[in-house]
């Protein structure tokens, strides 16, 4: 009797996440779909101008999609080599005592609030980038990529590390027994054997970076134009929603357009998470 009660209580806890997810999805569709009565899906996705408050307004989110894409790819350029490199070092080379310090430290990076990263980017990295490359402004796609890369680093490192550690000891021994040295064993046996996990780590890192809002709002510069260079300010989809939602009158086209952006973002991250899931499970 009591067992049953506990079981049902826990079941409702578990089901709540499904309810939340369903609620969010329904809201996104309900508030986002009306914009497509005003503009076609094609014009929304590939329109080159985002002037939601002009008369007549332009609701083209291509600059925002490209902004997100550029910043995220840039972040991966930082997070993937650093993350996979640290994962290889931590699981294969580090002395056990050093490993005990390094692994939690890398994971601690994930616990720094994103506004703190943004703050760091604004007051330290931005001015530095501006001086180093002699730019009119320091808050650029490049700056945001570096900060986002730092933020995605623990995701990539931690998942890649799990994948590398999960490679059975027997495979390493087989390699050593054939006369292979440590480096050959790591690069030719361990990393290939962990490749699906490492790819999943990269994809989840992508998901982490593409959904990040506060940091890019603070650091990316905020210009909603199609970027021509990484040293230009850009605006991501997430930053646009966060910056403009407060000003868009509820129920207006602008309001629905912002939900439309959220819908696009939702599909992108959902797609990547499903992909990562599929790769991990093989």
């Amino acid at each position: 009797m009591r067992d049953n009660l506990v079981k049902h209580l826990l079941l409702s806890c578990a089901s709540l996440s499904i309810v939340f997810l369903a609620g969010i999805t329904v809201t996104l569709f309900k508030e986002g779909l009306p914009i497509f009565k005003e503009v076609s899906v094609f014009k929304f996705l590939f329109g080159r101008y985002w002037y939601p408050t002009y008369d007549p307004p332009d609701f083209g989110i291509l600059p925002l999609i490209l902004g997100s894409l550029w910043v995220t790819l840039g972040a991966l350029f930082v997070a993937v080599p650093l993350g996979v490199g640290s994962a290889m070092y931590i699981s294969e080379l580090a002395h056990p005592k050093l490993r005990e310090i390094l692994k939690p430290t890398v994971e601690l990076l994930a616990s720094v609030p994103s506004v703190v990263y943004g703050f760091f980017g604004m007051v330290f990295l931005g001015p530095l980038v501006q001086r180093l490359f002699d730019l009119p402004v320091g808050l650029t796609c490049f700056t945001a990529s570096i900060i986002l890369g730092m933020m995605a680093l623990p995701t990539v490192a931690s998942i890649a590390e799990d994948a590398i550690s999960a490679v059975p000891r027997e495979l390493r021994e087989a390699s050593y027994a054939l006369g292979a040295m440590k480096w050959e064993t790591i690069t030719k046996v361990v990393v290939p054997a962990a490749s699906s996990g490492i790819i999943a780590a990269v994809i989840l890192g992508f998901g982490r970076a593409v959904g990040e809002t506060m940091t890019v709002l603070m650091v990316a510069g905020g210009a909603a134009v199609i970027p021509r260079s990484v040293f230009q300010p850009v605006r991501t989809m997430t930053a646009t929603i966060a910056a403009e939602m407060g000003e868009a009158p509820m129920g207006s086209d602008h309001y629905h357009a912002l939900f439309g952006i959220a819908l696009v973002l939702f599909f992108i991250t959902l797609g990547f998470n499903l992909l990562a899931d599929k790769i991990i499970k093989g």
Partner: protein, 252 residues
């Protein structure tokens, strides 16, 4: 008189505080099968791993004494461990093929040791697979994943992988413990054939297997070598009471 390939002198092994092998002295003859038997935890696998310095990989391991292969101590500082392991191949308890193709598994050691020529790689892979009695079963699926082979085939693939680098000695660590009887029979047949060209040391806790395939047998207990001699003599007239008790199944 048979030539001695491996001569072990006063070999001691510790894992941390744990004294695993105690003053082992043994001379292993060339081109014959030597079986190392003993109850679980007697140190027989650890002994095998001393012969190709696999225990080097364990941080807490400490070795004293000598292991001479063709008269040279493999624990000398000047010894190249990579070359040593090329001369002394090893096959493990569970088949452990790499998650690569059959071909790449066998070619792995060759590539490590600098064989790049495609023709030569193909030849040596084919030769190794034939020597391991596996060629006919895999020749049409050389580029399929090794993980799709049966357990017995995987174990023979691991032997082919070891043979490809042309070792002189092959160490087998309970190679049949994860195999079914038919696969085991094939493996034993293979070992019988390989001893014409290689010095074989096999660890087993299967007494019948040791009796079937070995020419010499060693009996280890609690880290000490109790008895060593011709298999026939060990099995028919053991000199030590403990050997007799073990062989008659009083403990194990």
């Amino acid at each position: 008189m048979v030539r001695e390939k491996i001569v072990v002198k006063d070999l001691n092994l510790w894992f941390g505080e744990n004294h695993v092998l105690k003053g082992i002295n043994i001379s292993i003859p060339e081109k014959a099968v030597t079986a190392v038997m003993g109850p679980s935890g007697c140190g027989k696998s650890s002994f095998l791993r001393c012969l190709n310095r696999m225990n080097d990989l364990i941080d807490t391991a400490r070795v004293t004494g000598k292991v001479l292969i063709d008269g040279r101590n493999i624990y000398d500082d000047a010894v190249d461990v990579s070359l040593l392991r090329r001369r002394v191949g090893m096959v493990f308890q569970r088949p452990n093929p790499f998650p690569k193709s059959v071909f790449d598994n066998v070619a792995y050691g060759l590539r490590i040791h600098g064989v790049r020529n495609k023709g030569e790689l193909r030849e040596r892979v084919e030769e190794a697979l034939k020597d391991a009695n596996l060629w006919d079963e895999v020749k049409d699926r050389l580029f399929g994943s090794a993980l799709e082979l049966s357990g017995g085939q995987q174990q023979r693939l691991c032997i082919a992988r070891a043979l490809a680098v042309r070792p002189e000695i092959i160490l087998l660590d309970e190679p049949a413990s994860a195999l079914d009887p038919i696969s085991t029979a094939k493996l034993e047949e293979l070992i019988e054939k390989l001893k014409e060209d290689y010095t074989i040391v096999i660890v087993t806790h299967n007494i019948q297997q040791a009796a079937r395939i070995s020419d010499y047998a060693a009996f280890l207990m609690l880290g000490e070598l109790i008895e060593f001699g011709r298999t026939q003599e060990i099995f028919t007239a053991p000199k030590d009471k403990r050997t007799e008790s073990y062989l008659t199944g009083r403990f194990g």
